[in-house]
Structures are given as structure tokens and as C-alpha cells.
């Protein structure tokens, strides 16, 4: 036994080093240094903090999306919920005359409700999550279009911009919020019964049911959180860009799912971590910023993100097959 333990490190990598997250982190550091050497504007403190500001909206949604994908589900409606909540925030304030703090709360409520409806139909009617959230992707975006009639809302008071544009000790406000939520979500997934339930559901839902785990309640919570996080992202986004438009959040599902899957969460459910998602998120943002600095336009970066999504799933599944 002890002999074996002494022998293996020489031939095999230590376990913590072979983990997906560690490998990703190493790649991330190499990419950071590489881009830094390539372009002196990249590796500055201000640029990195600014990138943190830009990635917060995707990051907020990526946390519950990690939960959703770990249970073996998916949520394609997140971008549409961002659009709906942005419109609800602007319209309840400007058109319905709510005080702005109440409008923010109302918008968060609408986001949570949108996610709750997804979860309710998925658990009660047993509609597959993919189809349910494709349908609500059309429905929620359509509601945003119908309510707003393509008008935008602007002219928010100064204090409203603190979350999206302000800083505390030079760190962007929303990045602090994201960091706190990453830690909360990470601990919840790793150390609580709720978190472990999600893994059990994703590995084998029937077994989880027979183990007396409340599968439906866990799923309902996860999809509601997804809607709530999308609403929070809408708040941050409106506060950052100062206007409300009906097409906000369009295509977010791609970035969010790419970040989660790149971070090592299995698209088939049952495995994944928040720490991986955080690194995956940083890599997506790095990719965008690095490409932008080398003069590639925004449309070409989605090509790279799409390719990264397919490749990371391909690599993960071929590694999985080799391990089996």
C-alpha cells in the first residue's frame, strides 16, 4: 500500500493537478501572460478591473446555470429574461410611475417568477427543459417587445448608476457583488445538502428520488434562481449602459453556457463546480478582450466562442471515454 503510494507520483500527476479546474487555471495564467507580452495595454490593473466589470452580467447568470446543468437540465431563456426584466424595470418606473427602488424590486420579482414558471412546468408537466426554455425564450422576449413597443427608457437618476459604473476602492461595484455571490454559490454547492442533492439528481434522478430527496423542489429552486440572477444581471446591465432596450441580453445564453461548459461542468449533468465556472467565465472574457485588442470585431468573437463551446464538450467527452 505505502509502496504503491510512493511509486505513483513519479509516473502520474498528483490528483489535485489533474483536476479540470487546475488545468484551466494554468491555461488561464499562460493566456494572461501571453496576451500581456503581446499587448502592453492588456496586463494593466485598470484593464483587468474593467474586464471584470464587463463580465459580471454573464457571470451572475452562469452561477445558477451551473446548478441547472449539474441537474442535467438547461436554461435557454436567460437572455430573454434579461430583456424582459430590463423592460419591466424601465417601464414600471417611467410608465407605471413606480418609485425606482420599487421598480427594481418588481423587476427582480418578475425575473424570479419567469424562472419559477420554467421550473414549475418542467417539474409538474414534465416538459423537457430544453423545449420549455426554447418556448419561453420566444415568450419572454416577445413580452419585452410587446410591452415596450420597441421604445427605450433612459434618464435614470444619478444614484442608479452606482451599481453599474461606480467603484469601491477602485474595484467595480458589480464585480464585488459577483465575487460575493461566487463564494456563496460555491459553498452552497460544495457544502450543503441542497448542493449535494443537485449532483445526485444529475447523476441518477431515479436513484435520487428513491433516496427520498425532494427532486422537484430542488429543480424548482434552481430554475427560479436562474430567473432571479437574470433579473439581477438586467439591473446591473441597465445601470452600466444607462438605457433600457427590448433587445438587451440577446444571445447571452451562448456566453453563459460556454462559460459553464468550459469550466468543466458536464453537459450531461452530475459533475461540475462553481470554481470551474468562475475560471471558464474569466477565459471567455479574456478571449473577447484579447481578440478585441488584436483588432478582431465583436461578430468574429462569437465565432470563437461558438467553436470553444463545441471543442470543450468534445475534449471533455473524449477524456471521459478514455477514463471509462
Amino acid at each position: 500500500m505505502t509502496v504503491a503510494v510512493e511509486k505513483t507520483p513519479a509516473r502520474k500527476l498528483p490528483r489535485w493537478l489533474a483536476r479540470h479546474e487546475t488545468l484551466l487555471a494554468v491555461i488561464l495564467v499562460i493566456a494572461l501572460l501571453g496576451l500581456g507580452a503581446f499587448n502592453e495595454r492588456f496586463l494593466t490593473f485598470d484593464n483587468l478591473l474593467n474586464q471584470g466589470r464587463l463580465m459580471t452580467e454573464i457571470g451572475l447568470i452562469a452561477l445558477p446555470m451551473t446548478f441547472v446543468i449539474i441537474t442535467g437540465g438547461i436554461d435557454l431563456s436567460v437572455g430573454a429574461i434579461v430583456g424582459l426584466c430590463a423592460i419591466m424595470l424601465g417601464y414600471s418606473w417611467k410608465t407605471f410611475g413606480f418609485p425606482l427602488p420599487l421598480a427594481i424590486v418588481f423587476s427582480l420579482f418578475v425575473g424570479g417568477l419567469a424562472g419559477f414558471v420554467n421550473g414549475l412546468v418542467i417539474t409538474r408537466v414534465k416538459v423537457p427543459p430544453l423545449i420549455m426554455t426554447i418556448a419561453t425564450l420566444a415568450l419572454y422576449r416577445g413580452l419585452a417587445e410587446g410591452v415596450s413597443q420597441a421604445h427605450s427608457v433612459r434618464g435614470y437618476p444619478e444614484w442608479f448608476y452606482f451599481l453599474g459604473q461606480g467603484s469601491l476602492y477602485r474595484v467595480p461595484t458589480q464585480l464585488l457583488v459577483l465575487v460575493v455571490l461566487v463564494v456563496v454559490a460555491g459553498v452552497a454547492l460544495d457544502r450543503t445538502t441542497f448542493g449535494r442533492t443537485l449532483y445526485a439528481i444529475g447523476s441518477n434522478e431515479t436513484a435520487a428520488r428513491f433516496s427520498a430527496l425532494n427532486v422537484d423542489r430542488a429543480k424548482l429552486i434552481v430554475y427560479t434562481l436562474s430567473g432571479l440572477a437574470s433579473a439581477l444581471a438586467a439591473f446591473v446591465l441597465v445601470s452600466r449602459v444607462t438605457t433600457t432596450r427590448m433587445d438587451m441580453g440577446m444571445g447571452y445564453e451562448l456566453d453563459v453556457i460556454a462559460a459553464v461548459v468550459l469550466g468543466g461542468t458536464s453537459i450531461f449533468g452530475g459533475s461540475g463546480t462553481i470554481w470551474g465556472t468562475a475560471i471558464g467565465l474569466a477565459m471567455i472574457q479574456l478571449l473577447k478582450n484579447g481578440l478585441a485588442l488584436t483588432g478582431v470585431k465583436g461578430d468574429a468573437t462569437i465565432v470563437v466562442i461558438g467553436a470553444a463551446l463545441i471543442l470543450s464538450v468534445l475534449v471533455a467527452s473524449s477524456l471521459q471515454r478514455r477514463r471509462d
Binding site: I74, L76, V121, V125, K126, V127, P128, L130, I131, M132, I134, A135, T136, L137, A138, L139, Y140, R141, G142, L143, E145, G146, S148, Q149, A150, G251, E253, L254, I257, V261, I267, F268, V296, K297, D299, A300, T301, I302, V303, I305, G306, A307, L309, I310, V313, L314, S317, S318
Partner: protein, 331 residues
């Protein structure tokens, strides 16, 4: 035991057939009923011009929905088709403007459509990557690639011969002819040919299909290749109708196509459905969109209505299945 099971299966199939006949009948009634009601409110809705606009302008959606139905029946999904149609239309127009023979500008989108979709099907079938991941990635590659290559430029001065959609067959416009012929051929093929039945078998239960001698992987590649064929034909109808081709992807097109397929009676759990329903549903959706304008409802509500329609159909389908399953249990 097994005799009861076989009898039960036969009964279920008879019920299933009746149900889908009724799904299509329901759609046909809805198409005609809506025309009558809206025509009563605003007679201009039934003017030849408007009816032709609805049919001609949306034939390509019905054609693309045929392939989408096959993909969904086989238990998969494709959300890259809208972006693919945008890319193929741009390519086809560019080739025509560059002075190549018309037949080349017509053939290229069809051949490329088959190749791109077959490649995606192969990744789904043989590398076991979920179709949603492959097609989501492909959608962004096509969409981003198109805009960054063309810069969203407009393609104008298309040669006269390019406009296939302007032709007539015995007075019936070409897009409608293609839509009807494609739907009829696909419906017959799926109903009566062994490879058509293999799609249903694969979607119903891939493992059972394998034990019955169907190769599920090859079936999935075939389904995606056919889906690419119909997407290519849809592109042809779409692009040759336009006087100016905008080199961007039509936004939300994949959702319209998926909606037509699902509302047409294709069960999203895979294994059942027909393409005739999908074509009727595509017409119904186009009719609803047009009707909104005639009864003075803002067209910005179209997407919400479409989302509500797909949601209602899906929930009704699943509830019906559960009821039937519950009846089965009692016996």
C-alpha cells in the same frame, strides 16, 4: 402477456393515428376559421394580394419546417438552421452576381446545406455530443462568420434569371409548388419507406431501434443531411424572392421554424408526428402574424403570441400522453 402488449400497442397506434389526423384537421380548421373571422372584420385581409403575400412570403418556412420535423422526430433539435439559411442565401446571391451560371447559384446552397448539416449530424451521432450544444455553437459560428466576412453588405443587381421564385407552374407560383411537392414527397416517404420509419424508431427508443436492425447513428446523420437539403431548398425559395439580399441572418428564424414543427403536431419527446401538420402550422403562424396587422394589433406582440402558441401545444401534447399512459396503467 405479450399478446396483450401487442394488442395494446396496436390500439395505441390506431389512437395515435386518429389523434394526428385530428391535429392536422384542427390546424386546417384553424387556418380557414381565422381567415373567415379576420376577413369579416377587415375584408382586405382576404384580398388576393394579401393571401398571396402570406403564402409566397412564408413558403420557405414551411419547407424548412419539414426538415426540422424530421430532426425533432428523431429525438434531436437544431437551432443553427436560421443562421445557415442566412449564410446560404448570401452565398447564392454573391455567386449569381459574380456572373456564374444560374444553375450553379441554385445548386451551391442545396449542396452546402446538406454537407453542413450532415457534418453536425455526424458529430451528434458518432461523438455523442448533444445536438443543442453542437447547433448552438454552429449557430454562433455561422452568424458571426457571416457578418464579419461580409460586413452586413447588401447584395443588389441580381441577374434576372436568378429569381426562381418568380416562375409559375400552370399559373401557380413556384414557392407554393415547391412547398406542396416537398411536403407531399416527405410525408409519403416518412410514412411508407423503411428509412422513413427508421426515423420514428430511432426517436422512439434508439436502443430498441438498434435491436430491430436499424442503425440509429446512420439514421441521425441521414436525418440531418435531409434537414440540410430542405434548408437548402428553403434558402432557394427565400433568396430568389428578394430583390436585395441583406447579408445578415434573419433574426429569430430558427424559432419560427421550430414553432411550426412543434405546433404541427411533432411531439417534442421524439418518435411521433407528421410533416403535413408542420406545413399547415407554418401557414397558420404566417396568417396570425398578418392578421394582427389587419385587426390593428401591434406586430411587436407576434413573438409573445408565437411563444404562447408553442408552449400551449407542448403542454397539451404532454398532458395527452400522460393521460394515455395513466389509462394504460389501469389496464
Amino acid at each position: 402477456m405479450s399478446a396483450t402488449a401487442v394488442a395494446g400497442a396496436a390500439r395505441a397506434r390506431a389512437r395515435g393515428l386518429r389523434r394526428f389526423a385530428s391535429q392536422e384537421a384542427l390546424l386546417a380548421v384553424a387556418v380557414i376559421g381565422l381567415a373567415v373571422v379576420v376577413g369579416f372584420i377587415n375584408p382586405r385581409f382576404l384580398a388576393y394580394r394579401n393571401v398571396a403575400d402570406i403564402l409566397l412570403g412564408n413558403a420557405y418556412i414551411a419547407i424548412a419546417a419539414i426538415g426540422m420535423s424530421m430532426v425533432i422526430i428523431s429525438g434531436n433539435i437544431d437551432i443553427s438552421v436560421g443562421a445557415l439559411i442566412g449564410v446560404l442565401a448570401t452565398l447564392s446571391g454573391s455567386i449569381a452576381v459574380a456572373g456564374a451560371p444560374t444553375i450553379v447559384s441554385w445548386a451551391v446552397p442545396v449542396v452546402l446545406g446538406v454537407l453542413v448539416m450532415a457534418a453536425q449530424g455526424a458529430v451528434v451521432a458518432y461523438l455523442r455530443i448533444p445536438a443543442i450544444v453542437v447547433t448552438l455553437g454552429m449557430m454562433s459560428i455561422l452568424k458571426g462568420g457571416l457578418i464579419s466576412v461580409t460586413g452586413g453588405k447588401w447584395i443588389t443587381d441580381l441577374p434576372q434569371g436568378f429569381h426562381l421564385a418568380d416562375l409559375n407552374v400552370l399559373g401557380v407560383p413556384m414557392p407554393v409548388v415547391i412547398m406542396i411537392v416537398a411536403t407531399a414527397l416527405a410525408a409519403l416517404w416518412m410514412r411508407y419507406s423503411p428509412s422513413g420509419r427508421a426515423i420514428y424508431a430511432t426517436g422512439g427508443d434508439a436502443e430498441a431501434a438498434r435491436l430491430c436492425g436499424v442503425n440509429p447513428q446512420r439514421t441521425v446523420v441521414m436525418v440531418f443531411a435531409l434537414h440540410g437539403l430542405f434548408a437548402g431548398i428553403a434558402t432557394l425559395v427565400y433568396a430568389t424572392q428578394l430583390r436585395v439580399i441583406q447579408s445578415t441572418t434573419p433574426s429569430g428564424l430558427e424559432l419560427t421554424i421550430i414553432t411550426a414543427a412543434v405546433v404541427g403536431g411533432v411531439s417534442i419527446l421524439g418518435g411521433v408526428g407528421t410533416v403535413v401538420g408542420a406545413t399547415l402550422a407554418a401557414i397558420l403562424i404566417a396568417e396570425i402574424t398578418s392578421a394582427l396587422v389587419f385587426i390593428n394589433i401591434s406586430p411587436y406582440w407576434t413573438d409573445a403570441l408565437r411563444g404562447g402558441l408553442i408552449l400551449a401545444t407542448v403542454i397539451a401534447d404532454i398532458v395527452r400522453r400522460q393521460r394515455r399512459a395513466a389509462r394504460g396503467w389501469k389496464k
